[in-house]
């Protein structure tokens, strides 16, 4: 403890997830999220440390050997990657280098391994050939396995990370965010990212406060600094003064109380002030999250993202594995609907299974339905699992990234083909599935009147729709501030979709993050969207707000709103008309 008190610093960023937490900062190594400590060894302990590392490598190798032995005969041809991993454990660039670093720099094994793997990965990342670039992931897998054994079997120095911390990082990838150990993390803040980046989405799912886009958090904050994360206001306070601390403890307490009160009423239906019923659904990535949807009073699953089973693994998941997972979700939710979105990979998430050819614009590249139609074998495995799950409850199939009618007809043809196969094989399934498409590409929005003939429902994916309509990369901090769902062009597109659907008696839902932001609510209700899907934690709050809104009035306000030429004007009008109603609870002092 120094003699002078460090000065209080306030950093402002973007609110990624609501809530307030107060705790010690933990600076995450730029290379990844695992909470790894660096410490220096006493010279006499160097030998002990290299032995600890060697033991971890052996344990990791044994574990992997067992995995390889368990691989069924018909998948054996894929095992060679794992055999390669087995050899990588003792590769001099990883193994030899780590030992060398422990000895020369007298640092702990975890940190040495992290350094060695970072160096090895860098070799591959700088290569021109996409195949070799992708090999960096192999090194990461191997290093991670060793690391797990290093940290898991060791009782020397995990005390330092056993307490709960606030992660401070430059950026977190979806895969990294998914690895966050909830027992150790109470919130997180990053230099990059924004409201709709995956980090925010996952933070909201985990109900952890998060502030993103801080730009210089990693430069200003040191590990062990006391920080306050205010996810409601999007600010972070470093080294708070005593009065600030007291104020925030009070705010935090009040926020938790408000949240509890809203959640208590979450199970009640979302009926507007003028008695119109809306369905508020949950977005999930993992089957476990169904519990959160039910706990928060969700009326079904409006978006079940299916990518996680495909990420961070060598091979593709088989039909049975997918089926087991879908069935679990469908049965848990029944009789309420579960909307399964077919595989959406190779956009900003990439899949480790396939070496992907370099794409200059992945968001405009081979992803989602385009990838699935190019690989009907992979697509059909998933469709078969969906059809089989449909026999156990209420299933909807949602096709992502549709840009033209042919993609819809081809997907339905493959679905019918899969159903015919199951029929022939005598496997239980149900073809009684509602088919919908994501409206997230402007071309699909503009063609909604035609597409309505082919499907049962639309689901507007606002994150991508806004990005593609406004040509703004939401991950690029130089333009992220221009990303605005209330842009009049976006509102017009949404209105067109809802009207086109209504004309053909097809319903329009929304599953993007726009649905969970209170400010948008009057517009969405006024436009006639009947179902909103969001992170489970947002459900009670949105239900609570819908109960206060008169939809008839909101519809009447639409003509004024649609006559505005800027997002700022739209925003102002909503605030003037609904500000008090939408924000009174949260910001009540």
């Amino acid at each position: 403890m120094g003699t002078e008190n460090p000065e209080e610093i306030v950093l402002s960023g973007i609110s990624g997830s609501q809530g307030i937490c107060i705790g010690k900062a933990y600076l995450v190594d730029r290379e990844g999220v695992d909470v790894i400590e660096r410490y220096y060894l006493d010279p006499q302990n160097v030998k002990k440390e290299t032995n600890r590392f060697k033991q971890a490598v052996n344990k990791a190798k044994n574990e992997l050997s067992a995995i390889i032995e368990d691989i069924p005969e018909d998948l054996r041809q894929h095992a060679y990657i794992l055999e390669t991993h087995l050899l990588l454990h003792k590769d001099k660039m990883l193994y030899g280098k780590t030992i060398e670093l422990i000895e020369n720099e007298q640092i702990n094994a975890e940190w040495a391994l992290r350094k060695a793997s970072a160096a090895a990965k860098a070799i591959f990342r700088n290569m021109s050939e996409p195949y070799l670039q992708a090999r960096a992931a192999d090194i990461e897998h191997v290093a991670d396995r060793i690391l797990r054994h290093l940290m898991g079997t060791d009782d020397v120095d995990i005390s330092g990370i056993n307490k709960r911390v606030i992660l401070v990082a430059n950026n977190l990838s979806p895969a990294e965010t998914s690895q966050i150990n909830l027992d150790r993390v109470m919130g997180f803040i990053t230099d990059r990212g924004g409201k709709t980046s995956h980090t925010s989405i996952i933070a909201r799912t985990l109900e952890l406060p998060a502030v993103l886009g801080l730009e210089q958090a990693t430069a200003v904050i040191k590990s062990e600094d006391l920080i306050i994360v205010d996810g409601n206001e999007g600010i972070v306070i470093v080294n708070p003064a005593e009065e600030t601390l007291l104020r925030y403890e009070e705010l935090s307490r009040r926020y938790e109380e408000h949240k509890k009160e809203v959640i208590r009423r979450g199970d009640l239906p979302a009926t507007s002030a003028d008695s119109k019923l809306f369905r508020i659904m949950g977005n999930i990535e993992l089957p476990e999250e169904v519990v959160a949807v039910k706990d928060h009073g969700g009326d079904g699953i409006g978006l079940f993202r299916t990518e996680f089973l495909y990420l961070s693994r060598i091979d593709f998941p088989g039909e049975q594995e997918l089926f087991d997972q879908y069935k679990e979700v469908v049965e848990l939710m029944a009789p309420l609907p579960v909307t399964i979105r077919s595989l959406d990979i190779n956009g900003d998430k990439e899949i480790s299974t396939m070496p992907t050819p370099e794409e200059a614009n992945p968001a405009l590249g081979l992803r989602a339905i385009r990838f699935c139609l190019k690989r009907p074998d992979i697509f059909k495995t998933q469709l078969r699992a969906v059809l089989r799950a449909a026999a156990h409850g209420y299933v909807r199939l949602l096709l992502p990234m549709i840009s033209c009618a042919e993609e819809v007809t081809e997907s339905i043809r493959l679905l019918d083909e899969a159903a015919a196969e199951l029929d022939e094989e005598g496997i239980e399934y149900s073809r009684d599935i509602e088919i919908g498409i994501m409206i997230e590409i402007p071309s699909a929005a503009l063609m909604a009147d035609m597409l309505a003939d082919l499907v049962d429902f639309f689901s507007i994916g606002t994150n991508d729709l806004v990005q593609y309509t406004l040509a703004i990369d939401r991950g690029n901090r130089h333009v992220a501030h221009l990303y605005n769902p209330l842009h009049p062009a976006v509102i017009r597109l949404i209105r067109h979709v809802v009207d086109a659907g209504r004309h053909k008696n097809k319903k329009t839902y929304m599953c993007g993050e726009m649905a969970a932001d209170p400010i948008n609510l009057p517009i969405l209700l006024g436009l006639g969207i009947e179902e909103l899907s969001m992170a489970p934690q947002s459900i009670p709050e949105i239900k609570n707000l819908i109960r206060k809104i008169n939809v008839d009035d909101a519809e009447k306000l639409m003509s004024t709103l649609l006559a505005q030429s800027s997002a700022a004007d739209l925003h102002q009008i909503i605030k003037d008309n609904y500000g008090e109603l939408l924000f009174e609870d949260i910001y009540a002092e």
Partner: protein
């Protein structure tokens, strides 16, 4: 090149379509680990350790690349021959 040096090295060509990717690299590394001394792969002016998969991959041995195999200890001739044979059969691909 002296007679001895000649005995200790061998010229091979990458014949398989995919080049020296992870599987061939693993096969080479596995053999090289049995050697008494160092085994090297040399392409143009780059020389890498044949017992390291990472090193081999970093060589970017695409199809038709010419590669020199080199051992340091005459007792490793058998390893040298086995690796050369792998190249010849295109790593059974």
């Amino acid at each position: 090149m002296s007679r001895l040096e000649k005995e200790l090295s061998k010229e091979v060509t990458v014949t398989n379509e995919l080049g020296l990717h992870a599987r061939p690299a693993a096969m080479i590394a596995k053999l090289s680990m049995q050697a008494a001394s160092n085994v090297w792969l040399i392409k143009d002016d780059e020389k890498v350790d044949a017992s390291s998969i990472i090193d081999i991959l970093s060589l970017s041995g695409t199809k038709d690349s010419r590669i020199t195999l080199r051992i340091e200890d005459p007792s490793d001739t058998e390893v040298l021959e086995q690796i050369a044979a792998l190249f010849e059969i295109g790593f059974k691909e």
